[in-house]
Symmetry: C2
DNA sequence: GTGAAAGCGCTAACAC
DNA sequence: GTGTTAGCGCTTTCAC
């Protein structure tokens, strides 16, 4: 049996209320008493039971984080940002993987709420109605990190992906390209379908370049998928000369496909992509990319969540972070 | 105020004990009663409070995971393995980053134990005395994942890194090399100092190749560190012709250093490394490597932890998983 | 400045 | 098969 607050109280000849005050830093304790209690705590090796505390106080100082797959660098970077801010505010984090399954997502939300998390950070490709319904039963705040809410009702933290795509495509256009292929991850991901693709099209339209639907190619967002997927681009009519890739995994897959096929970047194709993880830097040529501030996305999401949990007034629930363009060698 | 078991009991005209039985799948409930209770649960939107349950049952179905840095692929892969098995056994996981700081590690252990985790999985470069002391106060099982215990007292799951290094170096030797450089991550990491380095030396000794201490180079375990660190190797006396790298981040850093310096792999240097993450596959030439089964390391650690938590008899607390050698193009 | 006592929402005997 | 009741280890009034 572990040491309880009661054991400490008996040992120190005070009531458990006083021990509780000492443990919680309440000032209404005579210094001498405080010292006596602290000594007993030390001597007995008392460790407050956070579960009991959680039940009594209705706060667990724990937040939930639901992520598609923590082994993907996109989410592990983001999670690190969340974790650091969580630590700063003395929250622990329960982390779960959903694999993008709606059923699993709903289950996990229910599960985390049952564990009485004080708040929830959720990431996914898209918010299904079921998930939305699950969230609506929550009595704690929820923030979407790096995840769009098409209804714009939930708190979110993102960059302006549409603008980023616009900027990237525009850069290709200014380099003289008119035949620009957009290689996207799955359109089941809102960010791909709603933001990046739209930014791509808008950039073309603003430059009076006709949009060729076959130049929009959807594929799995993985290195291997893109390496294989390269064949689709090679066989495209219309001789494209530039590519914007939805992620650096895709970009690197294409790059290796291009080179293993005897062509080269940026001579035969100029290439620009999103993300700029380590992948974009280890390949030659290094990839010119839109840098998505993943860590910050996480950190700001958690910061927003703390405000919401504290009931603070938040002027804007839809936070947009800046992105930047990192120029390397995959464009001339 | 949330719906409690008591509300459901009143609504269904049964006692809270019966509701508890239904919720917990206890068979001693008449089907009709069960249905009635289930209906009320559904209707009221009752969600069991896991905190209250944890306090009453002294089990939280939550484990703690303490990791140096979740944003490093090594740990995020491993954590995914842990998470999947945890899900299988219906545990949640509280995940925290220690950044290898002993103080932080001790704090986190204390913190997790305070949250009443049912078990703990710990990862670090090395187990300090303070951490060992913190662990000794735990009344729940602890497993070290991908982390050595030099005292061999704690439960651990690893591969035989020494043997792996031996195999790798041996492969270089059989290709005719005698001047083999070992580029290691920090020797503050037990696995580097105690296992890999020893395997390297043993392979040389078994082949009657004299060990040249300057051929053992310690550097930061990062791409950028190794890219810079390449200079040290270039300036080495004795003309080494082969390199074994402690990780693929190091290997890729060296590879790019070598190539940006006008030399090439495997012509000027043959190269072999540990890990084989995506990095090893996107570079050209692809890297021949020892594959460390990170996911499995995590999964098996969690499986072991479940056994320990159940009080099951475990024949061997020091689990060794197999590794394999993946032959690609950085060796002839 | 300190103590007594009533919960927090559940589980787990034990009784019937 | 179901109900009663005593905790689990704290926080939090409310007295004193």
């Amino acid at each position: 049996m572990a040491i309880t607050i009661y054991d400490v109280a008996r040992e120190a000849n005070v009531s458990m209320a006083t021990v509780s005050r000492v443990v919680n830093g309440n000032q209404n304790v005579k210094p001498a008493t405080r010292k006596k209690v602290l000594d007993c705590i030390e001597r007995l090796g008392y460790r407050p039971n956070a579960v009991a505390r959680g039940l009594a106080s209705k706060k667990t100082t724990t937040i939930g984080v639901i992520v598609p797959d923590i082994s993907k660098s996109f989410y592990s970077e983001l999670s690190r940002g969340i974790a650091d801010v969580a630590t700063m505010y003395e929250y622990n984090m329960i982390l779960s993987n959903s694999d993008e399954s709606t059923d699993r997502e709903v289950e996990l939300i229910e599960d985390h709420l049952g564990k009485q998390v004080d708040g929830l950070i959720f990431m996914s490709d898209s918010i299904s109605d079921e998930v939305r319904a699950g969230m609506s039963t929550a009595n704690v705040p929820i923030v979407l990190a790096g995840t769009l809410d098409v209804e714009k009702q939930l708190a979110t933290v993102n960059i302006d992906y549409e603008e980023a795509a616009y900027v990237a495509v525009n850069k290709l256009i200014r380099n003289g390209h008119t035949k620009i292929v957009f290689v996207s991850g799955p359109f089941t991901r809102d960010i791909n379908r709603i933001s990046k693709k739209v930014g791509y099209m808008r950039a073309l339209q603003d430059a009076d370049i006709p949009v060729d639907e076959q130049f929009v190619i959807e594929m799995e967002d993985t290195y291997d998928g893109a390496y294989e997927g390269w064949k689709q681009i090679r066989e495209l009519q219309g001789q494209p000369t530039a590519i914007i890739a939805g992620s650096d995994a895709i970009a690197v897959g294409l790059l290796n496909g291009i080179r293993d096929g005897g062509l080269s970047v940026p001579e035969d194709y100029e290439l620009i992509c999103f993300e700029h993880s380590i992948l974009a830097r280890v390949v030659r040529p290094q990839l010119t990319s839109i840098v998505v501030p993943l860590y910050d996305l996480g950190a700001v999401s958690m910061r927003l969540l703390t405000k919401l949990m504290n009931g603070e007034e938040v002027e804007e629930q839809q936070v947009i972070l800046p992105f930047r363009l990192e120029e390397r060698k995959s464009m001339k």
